[in-house]
């Protein structure tokens, strides 16, 4: 994180703190512009001053840092007076009160506030050329130096080891999830690169710092391995159990810690694999990416220049919702027809009892009538249901005989007399209309009676 990121990350919270909106007032959009100068000169000078203090604090062991020469330097650099610089110093060193709400141990909302907001401190004698960081100022510098880069994930992983050593178990979960988040974020960014979303910073990182990246990922794996090993150590495990017993509502347990470590290991491995695949792909493939397509214009263009129906169907079959449809003809395909028949003529329900394999009176009459003809036809060719319908077998003596005909085609064994052996075949043609008679329609795949010899 840098100073500008730190400021951007907190500014809305400060705005809300400073909002004097009354409870219950109308909802209005907050302003999108901020008060202040466009050149942000006071902020720029403040950051330069803080950076100077940071360097000096690191390099010396003085209690106060002399800023007399810096004031002159900054005044010259920014074409302002020394008083202008002192205005900034004064601003940074003057505390202001911030109000918070806290949740007490018994769940009550309590008011709290702090005035510890000054970033720098000046001597009590008001010396204008000396200052130092306050505790809050040092925190601000620390936060501004934190980096979310994956290159530092190794150090984050090493903190897990320390957390186990010191018995700070809740930190393990927080720290571990942070590492996973960094890995996941980087991995998702790489996915977006694959998809053609430009990201110069990431491309540069992958191209120029790949060896550092490799070191970092190996570092993460090693640190997690070490943490896992430490956590499985007998004495550490006992220490953890003792801690666990003392917790009223523990936020972690041994198995969740182990699972977290393993998850980080797996994720690191996958990230490494993904990065190497990406680099290979990126270097070897001359890839083109399409930008935004005007689909509203496409819709007009296809009217101006109509596309072939086959192209439209092709597109829709490839991209529109589809469903799987398959035809499996069975006896139940005809059940509706049969049931309608049974309502009219009770004596012709023999088909309903076909499972008994005993033809009823109606079917016997049907078979007796047509047996010789069927036998003759089967001597030379197969007999399809369509052909039987064409020959008028849906009726017998001016009475409807659909169930009898269908019964014959579903139980061909009824024809097996006088040495005739008959089988049934189902055509591979999809379902078609077989007959349309008396307002009743027969749909289904073609059924074919065929004669065979011997065992089948």
């Amino acid at each position: 994180m840098k100073w500008n990121e730190l400021i951007a990350a907190t500014v809305k919270l400060i705005d809300l703190h400073d909002s004097n909106r009354d409870v219950g007032s109308a909802v209005v959009s907050p302003p999108e512009t901020r008060p202040g100068r466009d050149d942000a000169i006071w902020l720029t000078i403040a950051i330069e001053l803080l950076e100077f203090l940071h360097v000096e604090t690191q390099e010396t062991n003085e209690s106060w840092i002399f800023i007399g020469s810096l004031i002159k330097e900054l005044a010259l650099k920014y074409s302002v007076s020394e008083n202008d610089i002192l205005y900034v110093v004064n601003y940074l060193s003057t505390p202001s009160k911030i109000n918070f709400s806290d949740i007490s141990a018994d769940g009550q909302l309590t008011k709290a506030s702090t005035k510890k907001t000054a970033l720098i401190d000046r001597p009590r004698n008001k010396s204008i050329d000396r200052c130092r960081f306050t505790e809050i100022g040092l925190n601000a510098v620390k936060i501004s130096k934190i980096t979310q880069s994956f290159l530092y994930a190794k150090h984050d992983a090493e903190k897990l080891h320390t957390a186990i050593m010191t018995g700070d178990y809740p930190t393990i979960e927080i720290q571990g999830r942070l590492i996973l988040q960094i890995i996941r974020g980087l991995s998702q960014q790489i996915t977006k690169l694959y998809e053609g979303s430009p990201d110069d910073a990431l491309e540069g990182f992958l191209n120029e710092k790949i060896s550092e990246f490799d070191d970092a990922i190996i570092g993460v794996s090693n640190a997690i391995d070490a943490a896992l090993e430490l956590f499985s150590n007998q004495s550490e495990r006992e220490k953890f159990e003792a801690w666990y017993e003392l917790q009223e509502t523990p936020t972690v347990n041994a198995s969740s810690i182990n699972a977290l470590f393993k998850n980080i290991l797996t994720s690191s491995y996958k990230l490494r694999e993904k990065v190497s695949q990406f680099l290979e792909f990126f270097i070897n493939e001359n890839r083109e990416a399409y930008g935004v397509v005007r689909f509203d214009q496409v819709a007009l263009d296809i009217i101006k220049n109509p596309v072939r129906d086959s192209d439209v169907n092709w597109n829709l079959l490839k991209m529109a919702p589809w469903s799987a449809q398959a035809y499996f003809s069975s006896i139940y395909d005809f059940q509706g027809v049969v049931e309608r028949k049974t309502q009219v003529k009770v004596e012709s329900v023999s088909f309903e009892h076909s499972s008994q394999h005993t033809p009823g009176a109606s079917i016997n009459r049907f078979i007796d009538t047509h047996f010789e003809e069927i036998k003759t036809i089967l001597e030379t060719e197969d007999l399809s249901l369509s052909k039987a319908i064409e020959m008028g077998w849906l009726e017998l003596d001016s009475e409807e005989s659909i169930p009898d005909l269908l019964g014959l085609y579903t139980t061909p064994a009824w024809l097996e007399k006088e040495g005739l052996k008959v089988g049934i075949m189902l055509s591979i043609k999809p379902s078609t209309l077989l007959a349309n008679t008396n307002g009743k329609q027969l749909y289904g795949r073609e059924l074919i009676l065929t004669k065979y010899d011997g065992e089948q």
Binding site: V292, A299, I302, N315, L316
Partner: protein
């Protein structure tokens, strides 16, 4: 054992198209999904390769993604998706007839009428989820930005019809298309769009995120990305019209 597992997975995928190893905030597990996810997780490379071959021969492949690839997948979770392979022939058992039927508002409407309407509503859906938000068809990850209301799609279709009416077209085959689109009356568009949204939701290509609000799904985005280059370009989309957007990603 492998073949029975393969059957279990295949029939689940044919019905649902997606298997997730963990439920997400937006969706609970479907019946049988845990078992199917368990089977897929247990398969080694050989089994997975065998299953992919089985799917490839039917014009599909299984796309696997994790939470490291896209947002919207449960933390530590995996998602497997049955995707059509645009380069292959469409399987004989696939049908878009129920899809076309979803936008039917009159019994007498022909397949041609339904096809024209579906195509134009579908292009307006692509306009909302890609063009309007400045998204390329290849940017799968941005599926998370594709919120739209049913009213937005109705409005987009209506505006498209207005543009069609305002444009001077020549006679010929264009006339027939304009006649079909111009015949809408009253709430026809609303009813067709409702049918479109229903069938897209049932097919998991979009998902309902709140009352009347929808979002493209990951599988919907992947299919568009896969098929755009191989299917749409040169048939529906004129390549010249997108050539100006083209940029090279390769590092020389």
């Amino acid at each position: 054992m492998f073949h029975s597992e393969m059957g279990t997975v295949f029939q689940f995928l044919l019905k649902n198209r997606i298997v997730e190893s963990k439920a997400t905030m937006k969706r609970r597990s479907r019946p049988g999904e845990t078992e199917v996810a368990h089977i897929l997780s247990s398969w080694g490379t050989d089994e997975m390769d065998g299953f992919q071959e089985f799917l490839n021969s039917q014009g599909f492949y299984l796309h696997e993604a994790t939470d490291q690839d896209y947002k919207g997948i449960a933390l530590g979770g995996k998602m497997w998706m049955l995707i059509r392979r645009p380069q292959d022939e469409v399987s004989s058992f696939l049908s878009i007839e129920p899809t076309m039927e979803s936008i039917r508002i009159k019994d007498t409407e022909s397949k041609e009428v339904l096809g024209v309407w579906f195509l134009h509503i579908w292009l307006m859906y692509l306009y909302l989820t890609y063009t309007k938000i400045g998204r390329s068809p290849e940017q799968v990850s941005r599926y998370e930005d594709t919120f739209f209301l049913a009213e937005d799609l109705i409005e987009a279709v209506r505006e498209h019809l207005e543009r069609v009416r305002a444009t001077q077209f020549e006679e010929g085959s264009q006339k027939r298309l304009i006649e079909i689109l111009d015949s809408e009356k009253g709430t026809d568009v609303n009813r067709r769009v409702k049918g479109f949204i229903d069938v897209m939701t049932k097919s998991n290509l979009i998902q309902k995120v709140s009352e009347n609000e929808y979002q493209q799904t990951l599988i919907g985005a992947i299919e568009i990305a896969e098929a755009f280059r191989r299917v749409m370009l040169g048939t529906l989309v004129n390549e010249d019209s997108v050539i100006q957007n083209l940029h090279q990603l390769a590092v020389e």
